[in-house]
């Protein structure tokens, strides 16, 4: 039974990855999950310099999900290279570094710093709803998506995954724009912008007013967008959004995802990623699926 998948030249032992920002660089979860069992670890977004992120409260629970407005707090590329990469290198899993920035130059600077590092792929976050410039500004305009993708590809030594925002009218258009810009893969969905108001205190629950919604509540929207993107482009898609268990992961794969990322589920169940790997294997067993690639986009 083969669970290996090929992501633009990089072979993952299975399609299960972690979603950026929910898993740090793996250290905090390494006592619950055997990182060697994961297809890849996607790191928390890193910028050219340390970012402080947003004031607190940064998270709020909502029905079947959560809102976050961390604001991409990160220690900056220097410390990241010194501490996080060496930690991850101890494990037999692929390393995908999530890159964030305010400007094209900032993204490019981080991409260049990573060029000679033992990193397997880059995931470019152009869809963070919680930072003013950069982030979302890029991710909601197809022209900008194509341009920044093309810019980054000029400097990237590793395959480039563009992470797309679901807060758009036409996800297929965004997917095509990234593909036109030379993206090697796409990951979607990032979070849906939401808001929560405390009716007793009559104020926003989040200091940032709005936050990115994740969790099982967004799963049907994610499945729909992964399906639409898969119909629109040739490059592989990493599906994410509310995947809580193996069933959700398989649904995403059937919709067209070559690999999947597990995010908020880690907060509900620290062993989620490993259990999803086992659950997918059990499903393949049950239905005698010999190669997981038979399932990718099998429903259309």
């Amino acid at each position: 039974m083969n669970m290996k998948v090929d992501l633009c030249g990089v072979t993952l032992k299975n399609p299960v990855m972690t979603a950026s920002g929910t898993f740090g660089s793996g250290e905090e979860y390494s006592q619950f999950v055997d990182l060697n069992k994961l297809g890849a670890v996607v790191t928390k977004g890193v910028a050219n310099v340390p970012w402080e992120g947003n004031p607190t409260p940064r998270v709020a629970e909502v029905y079947g999900g959560m809102l976050n407005a961390i604001g991409l707090q990160n220690p900056g590329i220097d410390l990241f290279l010194k501490r996080d990469i060496p930690f991850l290198k101890q494990f037999d899993t692929k390393i995908i570094v999530n890159v964030c920035g305010h400007t094209t130059e900032e993204y490019v600077e981080v991409v260049e710093r990573l060029a000679h590092e033992p990193v397997d792929m880059l995931e470019i976050n152009i869809s963070c709803p919680n930072v003013r410039e950069g982030g979302i500004a890029f991710g909601q305009d197809p022209k900008m998506v194509e341009e920044i993708t093309r810019e980054i590809k000029k400097y990237a030594a590793q395959p480039v995954i563009m992470k797309l925002s679901p807060n758009v009218t036409d996800i297929a258009e965004m997917a095509k724009a990234a593909e036109a810009g030379g993206a090697d893969a796409l990951s979607l969905i990032n979070t849906l912008t939401g808001m929560k108001i405390d009716i007793d205190r009559r104020r926003f629950v989040l200091a940032n007013k709005t936050g990115g919604m994740s969790g099982p509540a967004v799963h049907p929207v994610a499945v729909r967008m992964v399906y639409q993107a898969a119909q629109a482009v040739q490059i592989p898609i990493i599906g994410m959004g509310g995947i809580m268990n193996a069933e959700d992961a398989i649904e995403m794969i059937l919709a067209g995802a070559t690999a999947i990322s597990v995010g908020t589920a880690n907060f509900t169940n620290p062993k989620a990623t490993e259990e999803i790997v086992d659950g997918i294997a059990a499903y393949m067993e049950k239905y005698q699926v010999n190669d997981i690639r038979e399932l990718v986009g099998a429903v259309h």
């Binding site: 740090g24 970012w51 992120g53 409260p57 998270v59 220690p75 907060f267």
Partner: protein, 256 residues
Amino acid sequence: MQIKFEKTADIINQDKLAEGIYSMWLSVGEMASYAKAGQFLSVYSRDGSRILPRPISICEIDREKNAIRLVYRVVGKGTAEFSAMEAGMQLKVLGPLGNGFTKRDKKAFLIGGGIGIPPMLQLARELDCEKQMVLGFRDELFLMEEFEKQGAVYVATEDGSAGTKGNVLDAIREHGLTADVMYACGPAPMLKALKAYAAEHGIECWISMEERMACGVGACLACVCRSSEKDDHSNVNYKRICKEGPVFLAEEVRFE
């Protein structure tokens, strides 16, 4: 790395201590032998509409019975769900989480405000030195019996229905209390005032912070607090309450 356990715990018993304040003893297995005062557990809801665990501080630890006592306030649907559960039912918990208190062998203030009171009980039991427990309640008292077994207890109530009318500092002043070290847990305004008071009187001051959490293990960077110095892990002036905390030396923390 500090060891943590994910455990489906049996509820040994649950009691209502005061209006909206509940006490729950959980059978948690070996988790109990690793837990210490000032740490907390992540408690998971059984209803699918609530996906995040609730961080609840440890009130007491019974290492013989492998049990942990949680005393919590019902503040929302999640804690309301917990409060409706009975002996024999099960709850998924993760812990022990956070750093816990650093115990110093000096004349001590143990200061709790509101739902910040419960963690002081286990600390009182672990501290073998002169202890003065200063507890600030809104109105109704709880856990008094347990605290009185541990030493001198001074009470402050907002409405003056018991002890000093006012807050914990009013009680300290009224009784002219002094100490060399202070351990405190409670609302931010109280901690901020205690930090100032401690600095002014040269008292070593440890405070337990609170913030909305998601992962509870230091991965998501949700529950941070401002730090005076750049934090080694974050590389910015923010510390993770669930990981480097919840207990900090007051000087480490910057209140806005």
